[in-house]
């Protein structure tokens, strides 16, 4: 990517993120106790990650079949709460397995 375009985006990303972290650290004196606001923020990470993952994951690999395999295996392993790394690697292996199968078997 062109460095000038890149820096424009980087400055915005890093700047906004820094301000969000530091402003309340420096200026806020009291805890936030609003249940609605706290609930909203407690849901945000999960809804963001879910919306980013699905359906985008379906077009993340070479084809939809390997992507589906990665998704399903990921969900099953995550259901058994195996931790970030194990889930991620299982997904990767599933994708690789299907892609190899498609290339060399079918």
């Amino acid at each position: 990517m062109n460095w000038i375009v890149f820096f424009k985006y980087l400055l915005l990303m890093a700047g906004v993120t820094y301000l969000i972290r530091v402003m309340p650290y420096v200026f806020m004196r009291k805890e936030v106790n609003n249940v609605f606001f706290k609930s909203f923020l407690s849901y945000v990470p999960y809804t963001v990650l879910a919306a980013m993952t699905f359906p985008a994951i379906l077009s993340a690999t070479g084809n939809i079949y390997s992507a589906l395999a990665g998704l399903l295996v990921g969900i099953v392993v995550a259901f058994f709460e195996k931790g970030l790394l194990v889930v991620a690697l299982s997904s990767c292996v599933a994708v690789l397995f299907i892609e190899i199968l498609q290339r060399f078997v079918f």
């Binding site: 890149f6 990303m13 969000i20 972290r21 530091v22 849901y43 945000v44 990470p45 997904s91």
Partner: protein, 233 residues
């Protein structure tokens, strides 16, 4: 053990975890058309996971300035709450310059271990705790980006799913334990599918659609299923 060492020890496992997560970020960044240094620079200046990933998507698709600002604001807004909590948990060695510096390093995991400490924390602890995570995050991105450039396409494809895999690992367990969470996440996913396939909605850029899905579902959750007070994550 002095506070620096305590911090460093707390940060070490976080750093190792970050190494792996950011590795897949590096892979995706290079796959999206950034070079190794750009990918690494993003991690060195942002130190977020979901935020960086959303930012990367917007960069790669040539999204607008407004889109970038709003997405980073919403996705990273939770850090402001963490910063507020942490501001009650620090000692007198943390003055304005220290706050301006260490504030940059508030991540979910660093927040969790810091708040887990019973005593008020000072600059030595924070200096210790941020080292391994920061190095892990930056180095992992660098290594992932380098590997993304040299590994064959099939391997890169497979590794590209890793970050999604980690997101799944974060989202699924709370859904399993709470049907309320399942409904809220379900709404976000359903909306996200609409934004991907329904004509008209399809034209809305991915950065905005993620925000609309997440905000709507989270608002619904906060209204219908307010979360009772919980002290730690």
């Amino acid at each position: 053990m002095n506070s620096f060492k305590k911090g460093f020890t707390d940060g070490l496992p976080i750093g190792l975890g970050y190494l792996a997560v950011s590795f897949s970020f590096g892979i995706l960044a290079v796959a999206g058309g950034l070079n190794v240094w750009q990918a690494t620079l993003i991690s060195m200046t942002n130190l977020t996971s979901a935020g960086q990933f959303a930012g990367l998507t917007i960069m790669v698709s040539g999204g607008s300035i407004v889109e970038m600002i709003i997405s980073q604001f919403i996705i990273n807004l939770r850090y402001s709450l963490m910063s507020i909590s942490l501001s009650q948990h620090i000692d007198k060695s943390m003055k304005l310059p220290q706050k301006l510096f260490f504030g940059e390093f508030h991540t979910d995991e660093i927040f969790a271990v810091s708040m887990g400490r019973p005593e008020k924390l000072g600059r030595k602890y924070f200096l210790g705790v941020i080292i391994a995570p920061y190095i892990g995050w930056s180095l992992g991105t660098f290594l992932g980006a380098v590997c993304g450039e040299i590994l064959p396409a099939m391997i890169v494809n497979a590794l590209g799913v890793a970050l999604y895999g980690m997101f799944i690992a974060i989202v699924v367990p709370p859904m399993k334990h709470s049907w309320k969470m399942s409904i809220v996440v379900g709404i976000a996913v359903l909306m996200s599918v609409c934004f991907a396939y329904v004509p008209g909605l399809k034209n809305i850029s991915s950065g905005f659609s993620v925000i609309i899905c997440a905000v709507t579902a989270s608002l619904f959750g906060a209204l219908v299923f307010p979360v009772k007070e919980e002290k730690k994550e």
